[in-house]
C-alpha cells in the first residue's frame, strides 16, 4: 500500500516539469561548476560566513543582545536550508525507486519498497559522510551556546569557506596527491617524537628540578623541539637529556626541510594544471574565439595580427617551450594535442569556437587536426597551412575551408616583385595592414546613404577612399561593361563605371587610410566585414 503510493509519487515528480526546473535551478545555484549564479551564491555565502564568525568572536567577551541572536538564527537557518538542499540535489532518489520498480515489473517480481528505500538512504548517507558535508553540519553547531566546547566548532564555519573558494580546493587536492610521501614523513616524525618522549621521560621525569611531570609533558616538549619552535618553557636538565635534545633538533631540521620540499615540489608539478584551469575559466566567458594550433613562425604572425585587433584567440601547441613563449607575450595558451577529441571538446568546439587555424609545420598533423575538428563541428571555419603542395588537396578533403600553400604564395609574391617592385610593395603593405593605408569590405545597409546611389553620386574621393570594386550577388548586374570575377555565390565587379548603381547588401571593396574607412563606415551606419 505504502509502496504503491511512494512509486506513484515518484512517477508524479518525474513527470512534473516544474519539479525538474526547480531542482535544476538549485543544482545550478549550488553545485554546477560552470554556472554563473553559483559564483554569485558563493560570494554571498563567503560574506555571510565571515560576518557570522566575526560576530561570534566578538560575542565571546561582549554581548550583542537581540541583534546577535537574531543574526545567528538567520545564519543557522541559511546553513540548514543549504545543507538540506545540497542533500536533495546530490542525486535523484525518485530515479532509483522508479528504476527498481520497473525492473521488478519487467521480471514479474514483487516490488519491495524496503531495499529501494535502503538504496536511497545509502546514497544520501554517502553525501552526508563526505568531508564537506560534515563540515557543513558542524558549522551549524556553534549556535548552541550552552556548551562551551561547541564554540570550537566556530572553526568549522571558517572551514566552510573551502566550499566556496575553489582555489582552496586545489590546495587540498595537491596535498591529497602527496598522501604517500606525507604519510611516510608523518610516520617517521611520529616515531622520533615517541622515541624521544620516552627517552626524556625515562631520564628526567623523576628529577626534582625537571619540569617534566607527565608523559604528556614529554610529548609536548618533543614536538616543540622537533618542529624547531623551541619555546624554552621546558629544558632538559641532565647531560643525557641534552643528548636527546640534540638528536631531536638535528632530525627536526630534516623533517621540516623534507616537509617543505614535498609541498613545494607538488605545487611545482601542479602549477601547469592550475594554469590550465585559469585558461579554461577565461575561455568559458569567451564566445566566437579562434584556436591557433601550432605556435611556429606562421602561427606567430597570425596571432600578432589577431592580438592587434583585440580578437579572442587561444594558442594550442604540443611543445611546452612554445607555450611558454606565447604566455610570455601575454597570450592565452595551452599545451595540448589539438587533434584529440577531448581537448577540442573541452574548448567547446561546438558552441564557442568560431575558427580553427592549423599552422603546424607538419602536414600530417594539420590534416589530423582538420579532420578531428571537422568531425566535431560541421560549421566551424577551418584554415590550414600546407607545407607541401600535395597536401593541399588532402587538407581540403579532410574538411578545411581554406588551404594556404606556404611556398606557393611566396612564389607569387616573389614573382610580382621581380616585375613590379614598387607596386608590389604598395599592395603588400596595404594587404598586410602594416602601413597606415588599408583595405576593407563594407556592406551597404538598406536605406543607407549609398543604397540606390550611383558610384559618382556616392563620391568616394570626397571620403578620401579609392573604390577597388563592388561585390554583388551573382546575376544582379549584367557584366557587359565591367570586368567581372566570380566568387562563391557572388561576383566581383572591378572598377565599375560612374553610373553603376549600388544596392543594399552589395559589398564595397575600398582602399583608404583607417580613419577614412572608419569615417565612411560610420556614415553608412554599419561596420565592415
Amino acid at each position: 500500500m505504502i509502496s504503491k503510493k511512494v512509486v506513484r509519487l515518484c512517477y508524479y515528480l518525474d513527470d512534473s516539469p516544474r519539479y525538474r526546473q526547480v531542482k535544476q535551478f538549485f543544482y545550478r545555484l549550488l553545485s554546477d561548476p560552470h554556472s554563473r549564479v553559483r559564483t554569485y551564491f558563493d560570494a554571498t555565502m563567503i560574506v555571510l560566513v565571515i560576518v557570522s564568525v566575526s560576530l561570534l568572536i566578538y560575542q565571546i567577551k561582549q554581548d550583542l543582545g537581540w541583534f546577535g541572536n537574531a543574526f545567528e538564527i538567520f545564519i543557522v537557518t541559511v546553513f540548514i536550508t543549504e545543507y538540506l538542499l545540497r542533500a536533495w540535489v546530490y542525486n535523484d532518489s525518485r530515479a532509483i525507486i522508479i528504476e527498481r520498480f520497473e525492473r521488478a515489473e519487467f521480471m514479474h517480481a514483487n516490488f519491495r519498497i524496503a531495499p529501494a528505500l535502503g538504496e536511497v538512504i545509502n546514497q544520501k548517507w554517502r553525501y552526508a559522510s563526505s568531508p564537506l558535508a560534515i563540515i557543513d553540519l558542524l558549522a551549524i553547531l556553534p549556535s548552541f551556546r550552552g556548551v562551551r566546547v561547541l564554540r570550537i566548532f566556530l572553526l568549522f564555519r571558517l572551514f566552510k569557506l573551502f566550499r566556496y573558494a575553489s582555489s582552496v580546493n586545489e590546495f587540498a587536492k595537491v596535498l591529497a596527491e602527496k598522501r604517500f610521501e606525507l604519510a611516510t614523513l608523518g610516520l617517521f616524525a611520529g616515531f622520533i617524537v615517541i622515541a624521544s618522549s620516552t627517552a626524556i621521560y625515562v631520564l628526567e621525569a623523576g628529577l626534582p628540578e625537571s619540569r617534566i611531570d607527565t608523559f604528556f609533558d614529554a610529548v609536548y616538549w618533543s614536538l616543540v623541539t622537533i618542529s624547531t619552535v623551541g619555546y624554552g618553557d621546558i629544558i632538559p636538565q641532565t647531560p643525557e637529556g641534552r643528548f636527546v635534545a640534540m638528536a631531536l633538533i638535528v632530525s627536526g631540521i630534516g623533517v621540516i626541510s623534507f616537509f617543505t620540499s614535498i609541498i613545494v615540489s607538488s605545487f611545482a608539478e601542479k602549477l601547469r594544471t592550475l594554469r590550465e584551469h585559469r585558461v579554461f575559466a577565461e575561455l568559458r566567458r569567451a564566445h566566437d574565439f579562434t584556436v591557433v594550433c601550432g605556435y611556429g613562425r606562421v602561427g606567430e604572425v597570425v596571432v600578432e595580427k589577431l592580438a592587434a585587433e583585440n580578437a579572442y584567440f587561444l594558442i594550442l601547441d604540443k611543445d611546452p617551450d612554445k607555450v611558454e613563449l606565447a604566455r610570455a607575450s601575454g597570450y592565452l595558451a595551452l599545451q595540448g594535442d589539438a587533434s584529440s577529441n577531448d581537448m577540442l571538446e573541452r574548448l567547446r568546439i561546438q558552441e564557442a569556437v568560431r575558427a580553427i587555424v592549423c599552422t603546424t609545420g607538419d602536414d600530417v598533423v594539420n590534416v589530423f587536426i582538420t579532420l578531428t575538428a571537422r568531425y566535431l563541428n560541421k560549421e566551424v571555419l577551418i584554415i590550414a597551412r600546407a607545407n607541401k603542395r600535395e597536401s593541399a588537396e588532402k587538407l581540403r578533403l579532410a574538411g578545411a575551408n581554406h588551404v594556404v600553400v606556404s611556398f606557393e604564395s611566396v612564389g607569387r609574391v616573389v614573382n610580382a616583385y621581380v616585375d613590379q617592385p614598387v607596386a608590389f610593395d604598395a599592395l603588400y603593405g596595404i594587404l598586410s595592414g602594416n602601413k597606415d593605408v588599408g583595405t576593407d569590405a563594407v556592406v551597404v545597409p538598406p536605406d543607407s546613404l549609398a543604397d540606390g546611389k550611383s558610384i559618382d553620386a556616392i563620391d568616394f574621393p570626397h571620403y578620401r577612399l579609392v573604390l577597388f570594386g563592388v561585390v554583388v550577388p551573382s546575376g544582379r548586374v549584367s557584366d557587359l561593361y565591367t570586368s567581372v570575377f566570380e566568387l562563391e555565390k557572388q561576383q566581383f565587379h572591378f572598377h565599375p563605371p560612374g553610373d553603376f548603381v549600388v544596392r543594399s547588401n552589395d559589398i564595397l571593396v575600398l582602399f583608404g587610410d583607417d580613419f577614412s574607412l572608419n569615417h565612411f563606415k560610420d556614415k553608412l551606419g554599419k561596420s565592415g566585414l
Binding site: R297, V298, G299, E300, V301, V302, K305, A311, T359, I383, V404, S406, S409, V410, G411, V413, V414, N415, A416, Y417, V418, Q420, P421, V422, A423, F424, D425, A426, L427, S432, T439, D440, A441, D456, D459, P461, H462, R464, V466, F468, G469, V471, S478, L480, Y481, S483, F485, L487, F492, F494, H495, P497, G498, D499, F500, I507, V509, F511, D513, L529
Partner: protein
C-alpha cells in the same frame, strides 16, 4: 622601371626555391639555378632549368656564373640565414647595382640582410601568416584578392613610369581624371622629388607629377598597356577617347561633374 629582359639567378634549389623557380619559369625563360649541391642541380636540370654548380664562397665562380655581367637579379634561397647573408655580401661586393632578393628564416635576421646589401628581404612565414589572418578576419577582401590580383586572371597591378612630356607630366594627381579615359584604378604613386616612399592616392592630391615618377595602378592587362603606350607616344590629353560604359542595369548614363579622379 627596369625592362623585362634580365637574367635571374636563383641560389639554392631546396623546397622553397623549387616553387619560386617554377613560378618564375612559367613567365620567363632566363632563369639560371645555381647550387653547390650536385644532387639539387640534377633535380633542377630534370625540370628543364639552365643550371650551374657554383661554390658561392668563391668570388671567381660567382663571376663565371654571370654575376657582375649579365645577371640583373639574384635570389638567395639557401636554407640557412648565415649562408644567405654571406652570399648577399659576396654578390654585393662583386656587383654594386645588381638587385638582390633574399629570404629570411628568422625576423631577427632581416636588418642584417639589409645591412649586408640586400634590396628586398622576404619572410616566407610572414606571407603565409598574413594570408591566413586575412582569410580569418577579412574573408571578402581575401576572396577578392585571391580571385583577382593573386591569380593568373586578367587583372594586374602594375607600376607605370611617367615619361617626359606625356599628358601626365606636370599635372597634380588631384586633377587627373584617369578613370574617364582608362578602366584603371589608381592606387598611388612614388614621387621621386619626395623620396622612394609610396604615397597613397588620397594623400598626395596636390603633388605635381614629373617625368620619372611612378604610378601604381590596377587594371586589366590591355588597359595598362594602353596607358603605357599613350604615355610613350606622348599623346595630348585632348586626343584621348573618353571611356563610355554603363553598368547596364537600366540606370541612365550620367556623367555629372562631381566625378573627380
Amino acid at each position: 622601371m627596369p625592362d623585362n629582359k634580365h637574367r635571374i639567378a636563383l641560389f639554392g634549389y631546396e623546397k622553397l626555391a623549387v616553387d619560386i623557380a617554377d613560378s618564375l619559369n612559367s613567365i620567363r625563360n632566363d632563369v639560371i639555378v645555381l647550387d653547390s649541391n650536385e644532387e639539387n642541380i640534377r633535380q633542377a636540370e630534370k625540370l628543364g632549368f639552365e643550371t650551374a654548380v657554383v661554390d658561392y664562397s668563391r668570388d671567381q665562380e660567382l663571376r663565371d656564373a654571370g654575376i657582375g655581367s649579365d645577371i640583373d637579379t639574384v635570389f638567395c634561397l639557401l636554407p640557412d640565414d648565415a649562408e644567405n647573408i654571406f652570399l648577399v655580401i659576396s654578390v654585393r661586393s662583386i656587383d654594386p647595382v645588381v638587385r638582390i632578393v633574399s629570404i629570411a628564416d628568422s625576423p631577427d635576421s632581416i636588418p642584417k640582410f639589409l645591412a649586408a646589401g640586400a634590396d628586398k628581404v622576404i619572410d616566407p612565414y610572414e606571407i603565409s601568416g598574413l594570408k591566413i589572418w586575412r582569410m580569418l578576419r577579412k574573408p571578402i577582401i581575401s576572396q577578392v584578392m585571391e580571385r583577382t590580383l593573386m591569380s593568373e586572371l586578367d587583372l594586374n597591378m602594375a607600376q607605370v613610369p611617367i615619361t617626359r612630356e606625356s599628358f601626365l607630366d606636370g599635372r597634380a594627381i588631384g586633377d587627373l581624371r584617369l578613370r574617364d579615359f582608362y578602366d584603371l584604378v589608381l592606387l598611388g604613386m612614388v614621387d621621386r622629388t619626395l623620396g622612394d616612399e609610396f604615397i597613397f592616392r588620397t594623400r598626395g592630391l596636390r603633388h605635381c607629377l614629373n617625368a620619372g615618377d611612378i604610378l601604381v595602378i590596377i587594371g586589366p592587362r590591355a588597359e595598362i598597356d594602353r596607358l603605357k603606350r599613350d604615355l610613350d607616344n606622348r599623346l595630348p590629353i585632348e586626343s584621348l577617347p573618353k571611356l563610355k560604359k554603363s553598368a547596364g542595369d537600366g540606370s541612365p548614363f550620367d556623367h555629372s561633374d562631381t566625378t573627380r579622379d
